[in-house]
Amino acid sequence: MVTSARTKALDHVFGALADPTRRAILARLTHGEATVGELAEPFAMSRPAISKHLDVLERAGLLHRVPDGRVNRCRFDGAPLRGAHELMEDYRGFWDDQMDKLAGLFEKERKR
């Protein structure tokens, strides 16, 4: 079913993003590819600890391991974020409405 595949993909993306360390790794990768060794440097984390996070990011499709000689380079892929972004967009109206109400409230206060 299309919807369940989409839901599963979203689960993986939000699951991957629900961790400060993984967000930090992604932020690093948006600046360019890196090997596991480079991500672990300088004593940022151990390689096995980094690799566990990379697995989660890879499952969400946010990261691809690209073979480069004897090592893999990690490459960021923003495409899976599209679904997450679309979901957030659905709530944007709610957020804007709340802000309009808040602005209206301040306006009333000011005029009082």
Binding site: P20, E38, A40, F43, S46, R47
Partner: protein, 151 residues
Amino acid sequence: MTTQAETLTLKLERLIAAPPQRVFAAWTQPELLNQWSSPAGISIEGGDLDLRVGGHWRVTMRAEDGSTREAFGTYREIVPAKRLVYTHAWHMGDGTTPETVLTVEFRAKGTSTRLLLTQTGFESAESRDGHQIGWSSSIDNLEKLFAEKRA
């Protein structure tokens, strides 16, 4: 436009489930630092600190491959339960000791603490990103330490 100094600054924010005096203690007492301050998979081999303005601190970290690296610095500002400013340098093994300055602020938020960490003076974006990964992992440990205690 962002300046280079801004891009080479690391800012992290986290809510920790303990009041500021306890989070400050976790940041300044060796036996507590041992429990959280090294990132995942890295252990603390030793160190010491002299918590007063102008006092020095140092810590040796060990990676799973057995390699070690020492970090060290000097305390610049100590305001208990509120603010801590200190220098942070690494012995890189090639003779260089790149130094950054850390400002850690502890703000009460109900019975918790809003932790604000600012680290300035990185030599490169790569170094800043690496520290962001490391700190995120260490602060995960800190978060868990207090979450377990509260539970």
